[in-house]
Amino acid sequence: MQMNDNTFRPKIVAFCCNWCSYAGADLAGTNRLNYPADVKIIRVPCSCRVNPTFVLRAFGRGADGVIICGCHPGDCHYTSGNYYARRRMTLLFSMLDYLGIERERTRVEWVSAAEGAKFAQTMNSFVETVTKLGKNKRLEDLRCKK
């Protein structure tokens, strides 16, 4: 969000699996646990639905950080989805790091439906980290700049 004062606010896209992390985010809400409004959640059925293209797309369109949340390994609603997501995202993030994109802009976190507090805390720390990094310049699509 663009605040009136000129302090930088990051754009954060969070992909949350429907069964655990989205519910975890809801629980954070129910418990009125604060985290910055910079985080916007996209609901996906499972963390394994997150295509690397989505992550890159987000960065291209001006996101400053992308976080993927899923069920804890072993707890996937679909038994194995998060295991695949874990491999994919590990490799993708490692590749982004390799290309010199700040590694702290990406994160995977396992948040169960019961972990509202963890969700809020994760988002707080992620937003803080990304805010420190500042604007994503290395992986943004210049054409999409305003």
Partner: protein
């Protein structure tokens, strides 16, 4: 062009106190495709739902966005309202501006700004939604149980009790499984046969149950509710309908040197045999590997003595196709082979036996008629050493063929063996070497303590290092970790508590069923906590030790649970399918089969199809197709597919990208 309606809920003050709902509704108006946008006190109320219905009609809406609480709360409510208003329920998207906005942000401007972004993202998504219809598929009201041990029998009985037809396929000539070989059961010490055989008879007599003994599953097609299974009925060379089970042939057969597998090779049987007295079905079977008639055409004694004329040397394997609505895997376990454990001298001395062999040696129907005798010289053993965890709980880098898991039942049956031995032969010294004694379970620990305290069994924490056969004795070298010393015991017998592993037939069966397995070849459950008796493949259920090591009560409990799941499925005439499933675009699919590999449900199949190419030629191409009745919609396949041929309805690539774009705008 979509005509989208946006409804912004106040949720009393829950949303309206921190989010300027009017501003949100106003902002939504300017989004492309939005023809109606309003805020309302309580969208989930009767009148709120009416508003949805009315506006759908009034503005000919093709999609709606409700900005309210979490979709996990009221998505269903709004979908139903939309459907009542004549809109496809899948043309509804929820912007979660309560749990994920108003409740967590205190500052109104920033919460409002975020709500606007969330609404924009929901609008972007709904613009790309397509109406979906949930399909249905009929259910064949018959179940198949693979494996006729206690797990399979119990499952079949429970299903049959509920009034459904059920078939048991058992690869051996008789049902009964491992339990039939066991002497007594812990912790009650009642006789296994006494509690098992009535169940076997009950299964045989139940007119809802068909037993295909000496049969195997050779092919499985179809999906939940609609499986077609090819059952291979192996040639038994005895006509099942004629054989009376009199057993004359098994006495007259001249081929006497066939290791008796029921007694684990501790004695011999004939080439024509009935595994044990209470076998079900009680029908003789000719072992084609040993029958001289089948091998060389010379003999025919059994045929001569059979007054029923049941012998048929010309018999061939038969294949029958049967339709099922549900399949239960109950393939059970086997003890591992312990030949490789040279230190225990299993291969060197007949007096080193496995626990299951020991079980037979104790059994009244066993090779020794229930008298405990050493296999080597048929004398009574006075010192017996039990070794625990042989092949269980081995470290991963072990070169042996052991298992990393705990086999769970060994501690208890060893306590049983020790106790029974001491009870029958109080002059026998019994030593049990263990790493840990694990006896959780009702009356289990008491049972173990009885063995130690009442029966004076010597439990020693430590492992046996070496067993050396020497002068008719077995020199056991072991360490006592608590006393911190080496022990040397001259034993008469050594009993190895061999680890148990899934039956070898489980792995090929899992492939047929497209059910997944863990690295130890145990079937994986759909959810380890919440769906422990279902496999991830819809319509396939798990019963007994094929899912993991289990004792009898646990097996029976799981068998009942699996049965109830099957009954729940068969009780339905039709299955309603989730329409948010994966869908393969055949024009884009290149047949690489990556998606098939990640599908946890086996919902993806590959087949050659003919395609008309742009240059008007036809081409045969391998393409994927998704069985909508089986797919659960996780989306694993969509990311695996490099060409984007695989997409998920309701969460399509384009929809998610549109959401991303809207958020990052």
């Amino acid at each position: 062009m979509q005509r989208i309606g946006v409804f912004v809920c106040h949720c009393g003050s829950n949303i309206a106190a921190t989010v300027d709902v009017k501003a949100v509704a106003e902002a939504a108006k300017h989004e492309s495709g939005v023809v109606f946008s309003a805020d309302y006190q309580y969208m989930c109320s009767e009148s709120g739902q009416d508003l949805i219905k009315d506006m759908i009609k009034e503005h000919k809406l093709t999609g709606i966005v409700v900005c309210s609480c979490s979709p996990r709360m009221h998505e269903n409510t709004f979908c139903k309202a939309a459907a009542a208003g004549g809109l496809n329920p899948y043309m509804v998207e929820i912007a979660n501006i309560r749990e994920q906005c108003s409740w967590i942000h205190k500052d109104m401007p920033s919460a409002t700004a975020k709500a606007i972004v969330l609404v924009r993202s929901a609008i972007a998504k709904v613009t790309l939604n397509a109406p979906l219809t949930a399909g249905t598929s009929p259910v064949t009201k018959r179940a198949l149980v693979i494996g006729g041990g206690i797990a399979g029998i119990q499952t079949a009985l429970d299903i049959a009790d509920a009034g459904f037809e059920v078939d048991i396929v058992e690869k051996e000539p008789t049902i009964g499984g491992k339990m039939a070989q066991i002497d007594k059961t812990f912790p009650t010490l009642d006789c296994a046969a006494c509690i098992l055989t009535p169940k076997m008879v009950e299964a045989a007599q139940n007119d809802k149950i068909r037993i295909f003994s000496y049969s195997e599953v050779s092919a499985v097609k179809g999906f939940v509710g609609n499986f077609t299974v090819t059952i291979k009925r192996k040639a038994r060379y005895v006509k099942e309908d004629l054989c009376t089970g009199c057993g004359l042939c098994t006495e007259k057969c001249p081929q006497k040197k066939v290791p008796n597998e029921f007694n684990l090779g501790l004695d011999n049987r004939r080439a024509i045999y009935i595994p044990f007295a209470q076998a079900i079905p009680k029908i003789a079977t000719i072992d084609p590997d040993y029958c001289t008639m089948l091998k060389s055409g010379k003999c025919g004694v059994c045929s001569k003595v059979c007054s029923a004329g049941a012998i048929d040397y010309q018999a061939k394997d038969e294949f029958i196709d049967v339709n099922y609505g549900a399949i239960v895997a109950a393939t059970g376990f086997n003890p591992i082979k312990v030949d490789k454990y040279d230190e225990f001298a299993y291969a060197q001395s007949p007096d080193v036996v496995t626990s299951l062999e020991y079980e037979r040696l104790m059994n009244a129907a066993g090779p020794t008629g229930g008298t405990l005798l050493r296999p080597s010289d048929r004398t009574h053993p006075h010192t017996i050493v039990f070794v625990q965890c042989v092949g269980s709980r081995e470290s991963e880098d072990s070169t042996k063929c052991g298992k990393s898991y705990c086999s769970k039942i060994c501690c208890m049956y060893t306590a049983k063996h020790a106790m029974l031995t001491r009870e029958k032969y109080p002059d026998t010294d019994v030593y049990v070497f263990y790493i840990d004694v694990r006896t959780p379970g009702k009356s289990f620990d008491e049972f173990y303590r009885r063995a130690v305290e009442q029966y004076g069994v010597h439990y020693i924490k430590g492992m046996v290092g070496k067993v050396t056969p020497e002068g008719g004795k077995l020199k056991v070298q072991a360490s006592d970790l608590i006393a911190g010393k080496q022990l040397h015991i001259d034993a008469d017998m050594v009993v190895l508590a061999a680890a148990i592993e899934p039956d070898k037939t489980a792995r090929p069966l899992a492939t047929l069923l497209t059910a997944s397995m863990d690295t130890n070849d145990f079937f994986t459950e759909a959810h380890p906590k919440l769906r422990p008796v279902e496999s991830p493949t819809a319509g396939v259920f798990l019963s007994g030790a094929c899912q993991g090591p289990k004792d009898i009560p646990e097996t029976v409990a799981q068998a009942g649970a699996a049965a109830s799941k099957v009954i729940g499925l068969l009780a339905k005439d039709h299955l309603v399918c989730n329409p948010c499933v994966a869908n393969a675009n055949e024009m884009l699919c290149s047949g690489c089969s990556q998606c098939e590999k990640v599908c946890p449900y086996g919902a993806i199949t590959y087949s050659y199809k003919e395609f008309r190419m742009p240059d008007r030629t036809t081409k045969l191409r391998l393409v994927a197709s998704v069985n909508a009745a089986v797919c659960q919609g996780c989306g694993a396949c969509t990311v695996t597919c490099p060409s984007g041929a695989m997409d998920l309805k309701g969460f399509s690539n384009k929809q998610i990208m549109a959401e991303v774009d809207a958020i990052c705008k």
